[in-house]
Structure formats: structure tokens, C-alpha cells
């Protein structure tokens, strides 16, 4: 058994099976949708994208302030009336200023989305360049002084 498991061919096939299982599962997970949501769950999801007007960055779902409670009631009524999430968001934005919690993808607001991606790419490019440079670093051999140093340290152990 152990011999079989250790065999390179077993492992190669094993990796293929693992890869296939992971791909199939992830594919299913991505394409299929979960069970329908209750009203309260939909309210939580929609409320999470709207800013509580008395708070700086908390969402309507995340706040217990009076205004957030009132807006939650409003969302609940509209969800029960069959309105879509976007319709509800638009309706709430009509009376509250700057209530959208998701920054727009365009204009100056778009920077908040783009800059981190740029920074990440820059970071990886930096690491790649660093690794490339460090790999090129020439290797020199130890001098007698180094060996003495190492031996001394080893003796002290």
C-alpha cells in the first residue's frame, strides 16, 4: 500500500484527479445559485450596500440607529412589493444624499478600485525584479576567515 502510494505514477494520477475534482466543484459552485432568500435576508443584502445616513461608513444593515431602522422598514416593504434590489437602491438614493456604499467604477471614485490593483501589480513586479536581481548576484567562495568564524561558533555549542 505505502509502496503504491509513494509511486510517482500514483502521485501523478492523483494530482490529475485532485485537479479535476477541484475544477468541477468550483465550476458548480460558481454557476449554480443557492436556495432562495427570505425577505429579511434580502433586506440585509440590500441594506449592506446602503449607507446609514447618520453613520460615516456603516451600512443600513450594520447600524441600529433610528434612521437605519426606518430605512430597513422601507426596504422590507419594497422587497415585499416585489421591487428589485436596484430599484430599491435608486428609490432610497432619491431622498438621501450620498447613500450608496459601493463607490462608482468611473471618474474619481473609480480610483478607489483601480489604485489597489495597480499597487498589487507593482508589488509583484517589484518582487519579480528583486528575485531576478538576487538570483544574478554573483557567488563568491568562503575565505579562511569565514571558516575560522564558523568553526569557532560550532565549537562553542
Amino acid at each position: 500500500m505505502t509502496a503504491l502510494v509513494r509511486h510517482p505514477r500514483f502521485r501523478r494520477w492523483g494530482w490529475i484527479v485532485i485537479g479535476a475534482l477541484v475544477l468541477v466543484s468550483l465550476g458548480r459552485a460558481t454557476l449554480e445559485t443557492g436556495p432562495p432568500r427570505t425577505t429579511a435576508e434580502q433586506v440585509r443584502v440590500i441594506g449592506a450596500t446602503l449607507k446609514c445616513p447618520t453613520c460615516r461608513s456603516q451600512s443600513v444593515s450594520g447600524s441600529d440607529s433610528a434612521a437605519a431602522k426606518a430605512i430597513r422598514n422601507e426596504i422590507t416593504q419594497r422587497v415585499e412589493a416585489g421591487e428589485s434590489a436596484d430599484e430599491i437602491r435608486t428609490a432610497i438614493s432619491a431622498t438621501y444624499d450620498d447613500v450608496q456604499l459601493i463607490p462608482k467604477a468611473s471618474g474619481f471614485e473609480g480610483l478607489v478600485w483601480i489604485v489597489p490593483v495597480f499597487v498589487l501589480i507593482l508589488g509583484f513586479a517589484g518582487v519579480a525584479a528583486g528575485v531576478a536581481r538576487w538570483r544574478r548576484a554573483t557567488t563568491r567562495h568562503a575565505t579562511e576567515a569565514d571558516r575560522i568564524l564558523v568553526n569557532k561558533a560550532l565549537d562553542e555549542r
Partner: protein, 198 residues
């Protein structure tokens, strides 16, 4: 870790040549500029509480207020067309609202006779019982609309009570007043708008 412990250390290699130039200075200066800009932004921000009396409602028809008052009568804002209306959002648990109350009473007393302006309070996150006690104790004979679900508050975009909206005789919202108001302040505003041709 087994792999690590077992691995012989090959410290016999000496480092390569030290790089030329001073890239660290450049990086440090670049970072300093970014942080300086950030600090400049942060330093010039006013405390968040002092912001925005804007409202998307300004210049638009006032949202309908239809409901029952504390006294049990029915109320409809549409019936007040032709008069200035101060729509005041109120809660008994809110201290500035309680402080504002005498000013509202003064405003009401001043205009109850002439009938040129009216006052309506809408309860915000407050039950009828709690408000009833307060008005019995502190007086106030203007309509107080009960709005337990907060629907009217949401229609007006009320964030934090006390908050008041000034509705012109033609039914258009002209002003949002955040925080407590005084009778004089509201009268001045009305006079201002009356003076200016619409």
C-alpha cells in the same frame, strides 16, 4: 521543520557586490510626498458632524404625509397647500428635540392666529405612548403624526433628529434644517423666501 533542520547551512557564500546608487532616497522621498498629501487632506477636513445640509428634496414637491395624529385625527399634508409648513421630525428620547420644543411652541403660538404658517411634527423612532406623555406634560397643540415604521422619515431622508423641512405654500421643499431650530430662525427664512420672487 524537518527539512530546515536537516539542511546544511551553506553560509560560505559571500555576498555579491553592493548595488550602486541610492534608490532608498528616491523611495523615501516618493513616500514622503504621498504621506504629506494625505496629511494635508486629513488636516483640512472639518469634523464630520458639521457637514451637509443638502438634501435631494430641495426644490422638489414635499413627499406626502398622510397619517393619524396623537389626538387621533387624520392628517394630510396636501390640505396645507397655500401655507408655509414646517415639517419637524421629533423624538422624545432626543435631547436637542426636547430643547427645541419651546421654540416650536412659540412659532405655533405666533402663527396659529394668522394662519399663514403651520407646524407639524412627525415622530421618529418613537411610539405614540411615549410621545403622548411628553406632549401632555410639555404642551403643544399642533398635529403630531405617528409614524412608527419610520416611512415618512425615510421619504424625507431624515438622518438624525431633530430635523425640520420648510415647505413653501406651493408645496415645494425649500429648506432643510438640521438640528434644533428657533422660532426667529424659521420666521426669518420665511420672510426671506417671501421677499425673493420665486
Amino acid at each position: 521543520m524537518s527539512e530546515v533542520g536537516a539542511e546544511p547551512d551553506r553560509s560560505d557564500e559571500l555576498p555579491g557586490p553592493v548595488q550602486q546608487g541610492r534608490p532608498m532616497v528616491i523611495v523615501a522621498v516618493a513616500l514622503a510626498v504621498v504621506v504629506a498629501l494625505l496629511i494635508a487632506v486629513l488636516a483640512t477636513r472639518s469634523p464630520s458632524g458639521e457637514r451637509s445640509r443638502q438634501s435631494p428634496l430641495l426644490g422638489r414637491p414635499a413627499p406626502a404625509i398622510v397619517g393619524t395624529t396623537l389626538a387621533g385625527d387624520s392628517f394630510d399634508l396636501a390640505e396645507y397647500r397655500g401655507r408655509w409648513v414646517v415639517v419637524n421630525f421629533f423624538a422624545t428620547w432626543c435631547i436637542p428635540c426636547v430643547q427645541e420644543h419651546p421654540e416650536l411652541a412659540k412659532f405655533q403660538a405666533r402663527h396659529a392666529g394668522t394662519g399663514d404658517a403651520a407646524l407639524v411634527s412627525v415622530l421618529f423612532d418613537n411610539t405614540a405612548d411615549e410621545a403622548q406623555g411628553f406632549f401632555t406634560e410639555n404642551g403643544g397643540d399642533w398635529p403630531v403624526v405617528v409614524d412608527e415604521a419610520g416611512a415618512v422619515g425615510v421619504d424625507y431622508g431624515v438622518a438624525r433628529v431633530p430635523e425640520s423641512f420648510l415647505v413653501a405654500p406651493n408645496g415645494i421643499v425649500v429648506q432643510r434644517l438640521v438640528g434644533g431650530v428657533t422660532a426667529a430662525e424659521v420666521d426669518d427664512l420665511i420672510a426671506q423666501y417671501e421677499g425673493a420672487p420665486e
